[in-house]
Structure formats: structure tokens, C-alpha cells
Symmetry: C2
Subunit: 212 residues, 2 copies
Amino acid sequence: MSSCLFDTVGSKCQCVCMISTEQKTMHILDAALPVFVRFGFRKATMADIARAAGISRASLYLSFNSKEDLFRAGSARAHRQTMAEVEVALKGQGSVFDRIEAAIATFQRGLIAPFGGSAEARELFEVNMALAADITLETRERLLDLLSLALHEAAAKGEIDLGAVEAQPASLAGIILAAMSGIKEMRGAEPGLGDDTRLFMRLLRAAVTPPG
Amino acid sequence: MSSCLFDTVGSKCQCVCMISTEQKTMHILDAALPVFVRFGFRKATMADIARAAGISRASLYLSFNSKEDLFRAGSARAHRQTMAEVEVALKGQGSVFDRIEAAIATFQRGLIAPFGGSAEARELFEVNMALAADITLETRERLLDLLSLALHEAAAKGEIDLGAVEAQPASLAGIILAAMSGIKEMRGAEPGLGDDTRLFMRLLRAAVTPPG
DNA sequence: GGACAAATGGACTTTACATGTCTAGCTGTC
DNA sequence: GACAGCTAGACATGTAAAGTCCATTTGTCC
């Protein structure tokens, strides 16, 4: 048997290599997510996570210095992955509205929906803001920039008319995000987009679509 | 506002009365069940249960002396309620087979299915045997008696023929229960009866149905 | 075979938190 | 005002999780 747990089938594992280390980290984070979702941060123990990952508690500490570190790494990865998908969505086909809608749906699906079903959702979000506020806020900032840019380009092409509502792209992007987060706060977070979200998108569309 | 949390709407609560005390107990057990199902016995704290019941931790200790007491009370109530339903099922319409099938389905639905979905099912059953073995075994005994009686009566009426398999009602009842518990052990516990259970019931029916 | 890396089980200290108890105080009823 | 029910909060105590460390095992490579 190989000494490395994370061989890809058929290929020997060159340990001491970065790929394996990274795979191990990913594997652990994959295992940790459902544990955190199920129990929340506090009730989830390092033993739980180690068991879920199929490794020993000692090994867990070889990859992460602390439970908080592990959580931060998980949060960071989720934000990184989701933002990559969001960028793809924004570069896709369709109108600005379609692409923004897709982008936001992706964002929700990646960063909110996975926890929304959990009774520990509140605690998890609180812990996330306590341990990974920088990542979270930076990501939100970046999403804002991406939306602004999309709106700006659409305005430049005449696809939308921001003059009608006297708004800068950045302001409008801010409104969109705020509305989405508000809607998610009130209603539960379904996967994808809810009715309220779609209604808001129709409002937006109606407001900035150029006449004629 | 009334000083009693558990008024039934429209009727003043006469505290110091047994009804209210019992209602409170029931209310707490109702609240405690999902907490135990969600977290298992160990991870579920008295604070969790108090919060779920909408009362203070101190009040919880006015109703129950300990977490173990509370669990025992919950287990006892579940067994009591379920056995009452089982008796109804056994007195119902249809053949012995139908009634036994219904009885067992009721038993499973009341005492196994609620926990079967939980990842903590194993721990909960272990804790139950540690804290409420008497209740559990007594209930199982009682179920055995009820099934035996049903089989006995059916045999007396000529509805079934136990001579064909050379079995006493009690032995057959024991086999049925053992088979059910084995099936539930192997397969997951769905609500109601699974395919395996139904197959077993067909076997039983075929084996003891009198010829002609 | 020996050197080496990775992972493990287990022992250990420290720290956090849950249990169970108690008291003083609040709220609404009679 | 007396009383009952509930509460918040403090408390001592015990359990267990966090984090650290090391001896040992397992498998790889030379």
C-alpha cells in the first residue's frame, strides 16, 4: 500500500510534492464542510472532522494548526472557488441582467445555500465573520467590482441606461447586492434564486432598459 | 399575561394542577426529541433543550432532575404512545397478517424511524439501552405477548395453521420480531415498511396459511 | 538491508464548557 | 401582600475538547 492516502488511482504518489499536500488539504476540507454544517462550529470537534476525513486527529494537526485555521481555510477556499465561478457566469452569454442574475445565483449557491439549510446557519455565519471577516469582506468587495464593471460596460454599449435612475455603476451594484442579502436574510436561502430575487431582477431590468 | 407558559388558548391555567405540569413535561419532551435526533445524546446540552422548549435551563431542572432523567422520560413516553398505537393496529380490520404487518409498521414508525435518519442513531440507541433498557425490554416483551396472542387467536379460529411449521405462537412471534430487527439493522429504517419487510411478511403468510 | 517520510495511537496539559445546585429577583394571580 | 412559576446568573465540579509531543508503525526509495 502506498504511504500516501491520497493517491490518484493508477499513479504512484510522489510525496513531498505540492500536489499531494494540496490534495490532502482539499480532502480534509471536503470532509470538514458537512461536519460544520451538521453541528455548527462549536459542536464540531477536531475528532469529528478527522473521522470524517478518515485520518487521525494528529494528522489533522499536521495540515492545520488549529480548528480556527481549518475553518478559515475552508471559508477561503469556498470564497475562492465561488468567485471563480462567478467570473465565468459574468462572462457568459445573454444580457447584463441575465449574466448578473446568473452571477448572483452562483454566489448564493456557493456561499449561502450550503449553510442555509442548517439550523446552525446563524452560528456559522457569525463564526465566519469572527474568523474570516477579511476574506468575506474582500470577496464581497470583489463581487461589487465585477458587477460594477459589467454594468459599466453595458452602459457604454447602450445596453442599459443608468441616466434614467441617476446612478453610478458602483452604486447600482451595491444596491443589487444589498437587496439580495436582504432578501436572503428575510426568506430562507433556497438553492439558486427565489421568487423575490427574480422579482427584484425584473424591477432592475425595467428601470434601466433604455426606451425604444 | 398568564404566569403559566402552557395555557391552552381561551382557558385560564390553574397552575398547581396536574394537567399543566403534564403539559409542560410533554412540551419539553416534544422540544427535546429533535435536539437529541440532531445532535445525539452527548452533544445535545440541557441549554439546547431549554432553548428549544422556550424556557430557561433552571426551569428545565424543575421538571427533570437530570439529562438522563429527561432522556428516560422521553424514551418512556415514546414507548408508551407507540404501544398504545400498536394495540389499536392489532385490533383493527383484516387478516392476522395484515394486522401484524400494521402493528410492526407502527412500532417501527414510532420507535425507530424517528432516529433512523439521524447520523447519531447508533449513539442514541446505545444510550437508550444504557439509560432505559428496562423500558425498552419491557416494551419488546409486551409486543411479543401481543403478537403471540394475535397468532394464538388466529390459530384457534383456523385462520392460520401453526402445525405446518411446528411452532408455538410465542416462538413465531419471536421470529417475526427478530427478523424485523435484523432487517432494520441491515437496511436503513424507512418510515413504514421496506421491501424486505414486506417480503418477509409474504413468506410468513405462505408458510402458515392453511391449505384449501 | 538502512534511511527516510507520512501517518498513527496514545499520553499529556490546559482550557473550555456542560452539569447540577442555589439564590435573589421578576411577573402575574388570587 | 402573599404566593407560585419562571428566570438570570453565579457557583463548584467534572468531563471532554484543544493543542502538543513522542514512540511506533507502515510503506517508499536507494
